[in-house]
């Protein structure tokens, strides 16, 4: 009897494109045609769900998808525990504290006032460092916070720094390296560990080859 396909959540956007490219190089081909959000690979061994990045941990946590590709920033914000069975070579970025160029002056305020999408990370980071912090939750275009005077600082992911520069902002401190992981629901792993271990081994080998090919 053919086994059920492994259920896999992918985040919309660049991470999905990279992941599909990598999986395609391993012979796992699929596409989300006509705005569909569910796709099976040609072998029928994998079923992929296309979900919003920040919702991905919820799907994996509840076992709707067994596996997922997710950044450590999103995992941390979810507050959920997953098995992280592989760290991908792509999608790395940094969580940074930024503010208007030349304007930062710690120590004058009772608490650091920070606008961010990453409220849990920001609060925990500064609590760990015994720094009082006031966090303002934003859902996007965080750079506007200091520009419009909502808060002097932001905590956000910085890849190239172009958006910061364009808005007259600069990195004050790099807080943490963010990596992209293959996450797995623990119960799902326990019931499918042989297949998942094999898949992880294949991913490790496949990604090394894929990186070599791309460098050519």
């Amino acid at each position: 009897m053919k086994e059920q396909p492994l259920l896999f959540a992918l985040p919309k956007g660049r991470l999905m494109e990279k992941s599909r490219d990598l999986l395609g190089s391993m012979g796992i081909d699929f596409s989300f045609d006509n705005r569909k959000l569910v796709a099976d690979d040609k072998s029928g061994n994998y079923r992929f769900f296309l979900v919003k990045n920040s919702d991905l941990p919820t799907y994996v946590n509840h076992g709707i998808a067994g596996l997922g590709v997710c950044g450590s920033d999103v995992i941390y914000e979810s507050g959920k525990d997953f098995y992280k069975l592989h760290t991908f070579s792509y999608g790395s970025t940094k969580m940074c504290l930024a503010g208007l160029k030349g304007s930062h002056n710690f120590g004058n305020d009772a608490a650091l006032k920070i606008s961010t999408k990453f409220t849990r990370f920001t609060r925990d980071y500064y609590h760990r460092h015994n720094t009082p912090v006031e966090v303002i939750k934003l859902n996007g275009s965080v750079e506007l916070g200091p520009v419009l005077g909502l808060s002097p600082y932001i905590v956000d992911l910085v890849e190239t720094g172009n958006t910061l520069r364009a808005n007259n902002l600069e990195i004050i401190k790099e807080l943490e390296d963010i990596r992209v992981h293959l996450i797995v629901n623990p119960a799902y792993y326990k019931l499918n560990y042989k297949r998942i271990n094999k898949f992880v081994d294949d991913i490790k080998t496949g990604e090394a080859k894929w990186n070599l090919e791309r460098r050519k």
């Binding site: 919820t58 946590n61 509840h62 076992g63 507050g79 525990d81 997953f82 098995y83 992280k84 069975l85 629901n185 623990p186 119960a187 799902y188 792993y189 326990k190 019931l191 560990y193």
Partner: protein, 364 residues
Amino acid sequence: MKIPQGSESFFFEEAYIHRKLTEAIQNLFNSWGYLPVETPVFDLFDVYRTLIPESDADKIYRLIDREGDLLMLRSDITLFLARQMGLILSDKDLPARICYSDSILRHQNSDDISHNEFFQSGIELVGKAGFSGDMEVLLLLNKVIELLDIKAEIHLGSHALFNQVFRTFSEQQKAEILRMTELREFRALTEYCSSVSGAQKAEAEAELFSFIGSADELETLMNVKSDGREKITGLFGEDAAGELKYLIKIARNLEKAGFTGNFQIDLSEVGSQAYHTGIVFQVYMHGMDSAVISGGRYDGLLSKFGIDAPSVGFSLLQRKIEPGIGSKERFSKPADVTEINDKDIINAFNKAEKLRNEGKTVTL
């Protein structure tokens, strides 16, 4: 209409199946000599404070009574049961076989759909140490799985093995290693343990606790030789090897008893509760996001409540399992309901009683 997050109500056929299943589970427990116990809905928080893992503490509902004492609502039946047993049991009552079916109350986040985890049925075997106690509970566990008719897998590990292998580590270090083991963060575990164990032994520790497999596969792992001696015994000592042999012995005996369920020795099962001391196990069910049955041995827990008795038991998240049970018609409400059409209510009542005595379901 607003409903508080985390509350659950269910009705009619669903509630009927729930009650019938609860009855069937309790009947099974009773037939093994287990008698029911009812625990209070709330108790003093200070009694349990040190026994609750930090990760669980924020899920507990707490309230202050009129005398200013901090109370907690029942969030874990085993803990509340242990206190009650400490109050009523003495050595002459042992071994005591106890069963329960009851609800628990925990805080739930808005993205958490686990409200179906709030009804637990289970057993505790108090005062029966070692192999015979562990086997009794595992054999009964298998009977419960048979009764539920679910496709499930039992994963058996050992907290005693964990304590043996990491005996030279501090309690704080052990808590961190336990967390890494549960999350299968074995690369991080190797790095963390290297400073105490040395690089080679730390790798072996990670390899050991990543093991999932059959008794045969564990035996193969144990027979690996290094310098003419079993590698595991050489690295971790006779006592740790003894704990592994104990798990194999259990697995072999379960096979002899015709154990029907899928069964794995899983050394990453180390017991998330602070009170575990011996075997620990979880049951996983296809289509479920987390374990549906958890259990293990906790020989030191009752001594905290006034009676020093070894204990072992398990608890099932019954509401979580209910949608997936097999042959559900066993617990379904009666299909045929006879309606008596008689304007004279006393005549109707008498007719209905006659039919009810024949086993029929009758409405007036």
